[in-house]
């Protein structure tokens, strides 16, 4: 960039009465401070309560998993960027966000190579191959997670969360959704809300997710339409299931607070790159995710469906963008 300015300098002097305008393609940022970097730092701030809660519950395991993912993501980003001869982009923090989200969504007890492979796949196949930040079709963290989920089913499936010899109470239990799906046991709502249950480190505490998520929405870093759509549909479908009268005591609130629903709604689905542009599109996007989460929870072999729901709706994002083009003025 610096040599460009030098090249343009004499030109500026020649026609000094004409102000030099910088032009480029959309999206045009109206606010100087509203940059990728600022958004990503916002996300990192919003993740603080979640990170804190996960470290409180899962202790060293959460710290280790997050550190592995964070370091590998940054290293992978640096390596791939170098391969493509692009300017160094680590400072925009997007790789750090991917790393932290990935670390929070993998089982805390998963072996080290799971985090490493998930991170490399997330950055390499999820992002760089599509052309880098802003070009990726799918949420990179979820691409990485889906890869290891299928590759290492043994340590990533519901049973992979349970480990008896960690010395941490939460990890010895079955994850709430799995306990319900396999044995019809429902966990207490308070435990779910505060996050004293087993699961991926980031997803257990509904409270922490809500605090961070609301901060993101207020800061406008995340669009409120997406979590609103997800939660609305989950409430409707969960409510219907309640009314239809399944005798079990797994209520709509259990659906809302369990699994990675809130974490996914606020931190994963709201990724600005892989979600639609318009408000209407965002709401439909969220509603679609909510719908597929509930369908997968009710009918699939997996206890949870946030990851697949997000990936599926990511694929529909270009279509949603096309459907929801706002009418031009006067039409």
């Amino acid at each position: 960039m610096s040599d460009t300015t030098q090249q343009n300098q004499p030109l500026q002097d020649e026609s000094s009465e004409v102000p030099v305008i910088q032009v480029g393609h959309s999206p045009h940022l109206s606010n100087e401070s509203f940059t990728t970097r600022r958004m990503m730092i916002d996300v990192l701030i919003a993740l603080l309560p979640v990170v804190g809660m996960s470290v409180y519950i899962f202790q060293m395991y959460a710290v280790k998993q997050m550190a592995i993912c964070l370091v590998t993501c940054l290293a992978a980003e640096a390596a791939f960027i170098k391969m493509r001869n692009r300017s160094f982009s680590l400072t925009d923090c997007s790789a750090a966000v991917t790393g932290i989200i990935l670390g929070l969504s993998l089982p805390a007890t998963a072996p080290w190579y799971v985090g490493v492979i998930a991170s490399v796949v997330a950055i390499g196949i999820g992002k760089v191959i599509f052309g880098g930040l802003g070009m990726n079709l799918f949420n990179p963290a979820m691409v990485g997670r889906a890869f290891v989920m299928i590759a290492f089913a043994g340590v990533m499936a519901a049973s992979g969360y349970e480990s008896l010899n960690t010395g941490i109470d939460a990890i010895t239990q079955a994850t709430p959704l799995n306990a319900f799906k396999q044995m019809g046991i429902s966990t207490s709502l308070t435990d779910l809300f505060f996050g004293l249950t087993n699961g991926s480190p980031g997803e257990t505490s509904a409270l922490a997710c809500l605090i961070g998520g609301i901060y993101l929405c207020i800061r406008r870093t995340a669009s409120w339409e997406i979590p609103a759509g997800i939660i609305a549909v989950v409430l409707i479908m969960g409510g219907l299931a309640d009314i239809m009268g399944s005798a079990s005591n797994w209520t709509v609130l259990h659906h809302l607070f369990s699994g990675s629903l809130l974490f996914g709604a606020f931190f994963i689905a709201t990724d600005p790159v892989s979600s639609p542009l318009t408000a209407k599109g965002k709401f439909i996007f969220g509603a679609g995710i909510g719908f597929f989460i509930m369908v997968l929870r009710f009918f699939s072999g997996y206890p949870e469906g946030v990851m697949f729901a997000v990936l599926f709706m990511n694929a529909l994002t270009p279509l949603l963008n096309r459907w929801t083009i706002p009418a031009a003025m006067g039409e």
Partner: protein
Amino acid sequence: MKPSEQTMPGDNNRISNFFIFQAWLVLLLASFFGASLAGIQLTLSPKIEANKLNETLEKVPELIFGAEAAQSFAEENRQMDIERQYIKAGNKIYSVFQAKTDDQTSGWVVKSSGQGYADKIELLVGVDAKAETISGLFILDQKETPGLGNKIMEQAWRNQFNNKSTQQPMTAVKTKASAPNEINAITGATISSKAVCGIVNQSLNNLRQPLAKALLNDQNPSDNQPNNHQEKK
């Protein structure tokens, strides 16, 4: 072939003949290839049929006597007669192999299949002569998730079925199996485990009585009932 002939109007017969004549090469090749394929099929089909049957037959001694007994059985060079029958039970037709040693029925092997987690699971269940206890289980074909569901192939897991009674349906449990009819499910592959139990339960439930009946008929030939195509429920 003169191209001028082909558009001669009104002369249907000639045109028809012309089409056929034009295609002499196709006709020649078709009959030649047809004949050669028939020849190949004639040569190879006994071998292929034997392959298909052997796949099952090889397993029969092991499924009825257990692996070690079958080994010594083979070493002693004892003869085992295996007879294939089709028995209709429930709404399915089962392929059943009756194993006889020294003219005594020593057990049955039932070929059965059902829906697994990913695709159809095809398996063989061995039961004793009276169809009261399971003597062995073998998975012929499955497409379960590698690393999880396909552990149903493992000997250790399959051996859990040995010596279980056919009277009670088997259940796959996640925790330690305690009751006699419980099977430890494979960690992370509860659905595959349950599917295998389900297939075994269903086929045994259907076949328990027909097999016992067949054994009786066998012992009292006076009934003069052929085993094939029994219509018993």
